[in-house]
Symmetry: D2
Amino acid sequence: MTTFKGFAMKRLNETGWVEKEVPDCEPYDAIVRPTCVSPCTSDTHTVWEGAIGDRKDMVLGHEAVGIVEKVGSHVKNFKEGDKVIVPAITPDWDDEAAQRGFPSQTTEPLGGWKFSNFKDGVFGERFHVNLADANLALQPEELSDEAAVMLVDMWSTGMMGAENADIPLGGSVLVIGIGAVGLSAIAGAKLLGAGEIYAAGTRPISVKVAKKYGATNIINYKEGSIDQQVRDATDGAGVDSVIIAGGNLENTWKEAIASAKAGGTVSNVNYLSGADNVLIPRVEWGCGMSGIKITNGLCPGGRVRMERLASLALNKRADPELLVTHKFKGLEKIEEALYLMKDKPKDLIKPIVKIEE
Amino acid sequence: MTTFKGFAMKRLNETGWVEKEVPDCEPYDAIVRPTCVSPCTSDTHTVWEGAIGDRKDMVLGHEAVGIVEKVGSHVKNFKEGDKVIVPAITPDWDDEAAQRGFPSQTTEPLGGWKFSNFKDGVFGERFHVNLADANLALQPEELSDEAAVMLVDMWSTGMMGAENADIPLGGSVLVIGIGAVGLSAIAGAKLLGAGEIYAAGTRPISVKVAKKYGATNIINYKEGSIDQQVRDATDGAGVDSVIIAGGNLENTWKEAIASAKAGGTVSNVNYLSGADNVLIPRVEWGCGMSGIKITNGLCPGGRVRMERLASLALNKRADPELLVTHKFKGLEKIEEALYLMKDKPKDLIKPIVKIEE
Amino acid sequence: MTTFKGFAMKRLNETGWVEKEVPDCEPYDAIVRPTCVSPCTSDTHTVWEGAIGDRKDMVLGHEAVGIVEKVGSHVKNFKEGDKVIVPAITPDWDDEAAQRGFPSQTTEPLGGWKFSNFKDGVFGERFHVNLADANLALQPEELSDEAAVMLVDMWSTGMMGAENADIPLGGSVLVIGIGAVGLSAIAGAKLLGAGEIYAAGTRPISVKVAKKYGATNIINYKEGSIDQQVRDATDGAGVDSVIIAGGNLENTWKEAIASAKAGGTVSNVNYLSGADNVLIPRVEWGCGMSGIKITNGLCPGGRVRMERLASLALNKRADPELLVTHKFKGLEKIEEALYLMKDKPKDLIKPIVKIEE
Amino acid sequence: MTTFKGFAMKRLNETGWVEKEVPDCEPYDAIVRPTCVSPCTSDTHTVWEGAIGDRKDMVLGHEAVGIVEKVGSHVKNFKEGDKVIVPAITPDWDDEAAQRGFPSQTTEPLGGWKFSNFKDGVFGERFHVNLADANLALQPEELSDEAAVMLVDMWSTGMMGAENADIPLGGSVLVIGIGAVGLSAIAGAKLLGAGEIYAAGTRPISVKVAKKYGATNIINYKEGSIDQQVRDATDGAGVDSVIIAGGNLENTWKEAIASAKAGGTVSNVNYLSGADNVLIPRVEWGCGMSGIKITNGLCPGGRVRMERLASLALNKRADPELLVTHKFKGLEKIEEALYLMKDKPKDLIKPIVKIEE
């Protein structure tokens, strides 16, 4: 196979199928054939909101598991035929930013995000993985494709939100937004020792999973400001940690800061858009002296991250498949799945597309 | 009531009932009447192993919940009649060590441990609590006495073991020793994001609870060295974190260090006795350059700690009552409960004594 | 002495001398007679900008050293006649927020700030100190009053800015604003391992001290945006850490974020005023995924903090007296010193008033 | 040049010159020609103490700066002729341990140490560097060879000792051992905010540099136990942090633990030898509940580390050349320099050999 078919962003606001050459496999790289993929809200932002600017005929997608088709001459840990989990983020691990402790920021800010950003993504018959030894993980047999493909971005991003939130053991957490990432943040908050978990959201399908993942209180943002409801529920104390996984740039940040205790943490995992500035409310922030920290990050990638998330799933610490509401079969169904993601029907959390058993 | 009856260490190797004067209640202090107490292995070490040296007619016990009988003139948060959780460790929060971040080490090393160490403990009709505002916590109605009394030392100590173990999300943990503290360490490891949890122990009753608390693999130390079994189970990799909650000074530390990955952590919660030195095996420790950290601590005390542990119980993150295997009724049963703790029958994890409904 | 004279905020925009009753000395408290005080920019904000709302006849000032006049019945570490350093921030160390690790936020957000906020300050013949054992520190004989009074707020606040900035050993730092707090942040950055320190400011007297404290590059914000100058000086890389110790809410935060490397930290020590919101520039912040953390805090107080800062001064790690540009003698000169602080002449960093040798 | 001459360990207890083939330069690697090298105590341990077992004709040395002779096809950041600093430790940055945050432990424990351990070292006309983009750093023109070669192991190791010691700003530190690594630990402790620094050692040349690097008190271990002297000097308090950079396995660890405050840290940088076990004194360690942490590590390597240490030197935070007491010229002088290191005359800290101007 020298060319491959893929579902691409042809240009801003336009998608379609393309035929491209299979990329070269450099000494440390691999070529992978996806067995299961999942569209991400970011894919829709890329195509229809211009989130990363324009692209021509770029194959979309960054959530996949697959089978190794070819490895470079210096790859040691993987071989043709291996079933692998492919992290959405594939850093240059020898880079300056990785040495500083921020592998997802390699090459440039957010530079660890290569699939469907700087190169073709995973929605094709083949895709290229840089530094295969570091950026693939063996998929355990006991882990289904549906489960594994939820780890590569949703769990990794959402749980990072909890990791960045400095949750004290038995502390209280508020998660704003209960899409797939917010739900993963809830699972992460529970896994990292939260006592009370307040989840702000309204979609019934998401509320159901939020509770299964560990939410103890649901906040309906349509019934008043989130911070007021949090203060009411906590005798005025507020929460130790807030994770922002949704909302907008008009209200969400004000409500987040106003929900946190002095000394608490507001951790962002939302890809922010829609305004030039994020507004931190001065008074609620204690005039910049309340000790409320603001943290954020890009989805962690790499082999070890995937192995650890797989361990959580295998040991039943939480169930990744709870996020999967729609299943498709066959490469060509990627188009339908992506448009589903764009339209966000009420019963959707995440769709997946099985390409090969 | 000006005097009270209590079950005491009369001197080394001798216990008995004593009658003592109810202590003064200084401006920031409280006097509490216990409703439920639990003997601790430390109580037996104190009496029969001379762990803290000799004591005369010192009332034993440091695990209790109770009812506030009296508060000092400057106490703001509590009043007579309040149902309270009493942390085993009651620091001087304004002390130099507390300001440095180590409240359990106030006044002197381990100085936050006052009950049945520097003053009379909780196995009496009344006991004294220093800095009541800081060292009591309201007991939520939904939390039974049996559950609450497991928080004050067992959960607080065991879970600290997990907190000090630097467990990466999805990382692997080995807990050595599955008495009440080791089991709490397992619960803590699960609550702090562990994937695989190896538990080394053999008593069937403990193994059962270990699994309920989150252990994924049981290691029988009678079937070979712990580290060899851990290496075998992890393809030679070892674990990210080791928690020492039992064992001895001959083998345990060697096995612990030898079980950890380079860069991992060995976290001690065991009250060490039986030899002059803890032996860290030089070669297994990478000649002191493997990056394997050794951490430890004394049970965290204080109000906030108790509130957070109560939140974990109330939100069903884990069930403290799983530790309670034997229940007694009536103050006078403390004697029997303590001797049970000394004898450690096969079916025992922790006994409790209900003094008042 | 049952009454004392003090220089007060009579109401918004009005200052004057008042005569008040010496406060009661509760069991754990002390009454102190100041020997040297220093006005702070915050005092001027309090009077002339309404920063904390209105106050009636409240004695101003929170920077002092002095002599213990009286101690409460339960104070153990201090006695009448002791020469003491008085931290600007005097937490309730047994409070919930202190137990959570945030003593400066006790009672309520910023609640550790009591002098000239919730009670009379230090610009009088006597003042009251809560929890004396925890909130006073012996002033070493070798430490002059001029030096010691610079520790209680300027060094403690400024150096906290560096502590919150996650400076890697040999990393690069930008400090925006070179008033007394910004200069202390520079000293702190050097003491915490910074290699290059960029200082943004223009006043010649401050520039001179900035260099003595460790600044390696001076940035004149009048010659272009700070971030552009930082990028130019660092081959486009930016800096590891930014400390905001001045500037305004229009440009400073944009320039701060735009100066930081992905994964870096922006640490605020500026008391923010002048707008409803702090604007975080979305694109420069990597759409909330660049890993740039935002930290802040209120000046750390308490005995241990003062002892440690005194140790830095005594061991000549930096010289606090470099901040003192104007010296006055006599209680009544407080008025002149405060107005000097309000007018900020070119040659001023900090004035002090010696009240007693 | 297809072969090169080098000074080697021919077998245990025997050194000599060898002629070997210049290694292949794989796609990401480089071949370097040293301009200045320095023997390390480890080299003498390797040859005469069998510290790493036997080796045949292995070129010694891991401290060098040099000129790039050749780069692999995929190297982007360096080219022939570049003047480079070569870290003693050259990790596989894409490895599992590096992803876990422990790059010096790649491949296997201590596996980042490749020169004169797993492959030929730097005491030859040419040497091989793996992952050149990540494991070389440009040597700034203003930085002399003598200075730069002190960074690659001495500063990096010694300062890591301070980084691992959790020194609070203004805290007190004890450094045991004042060879080149201990002296670098003193410099590191000062750079990381220590107030008082106690240095235990006796050699006059080292004492002189210790004071220049920031030691405030010198402890002569011949005049009594170190911990007793530290307790005497600190009113019984002990120190916040202890760094072990020398001593033996009989007394040093006991004295180290006994010198630390409860909650403090003992950080090891000494390559331990001479006994099977490191003895942690049980009682002084608070029966394993004092909160005294024990940390350690292997010298950090890589490009960013070298750049940051160079920044410290260039910005005059400390002077690396203070460590250099003996200078030789010419490749063949390596032999003499190594034997000097073995014999340790009184006036020696570190020798260097200039090979090329």
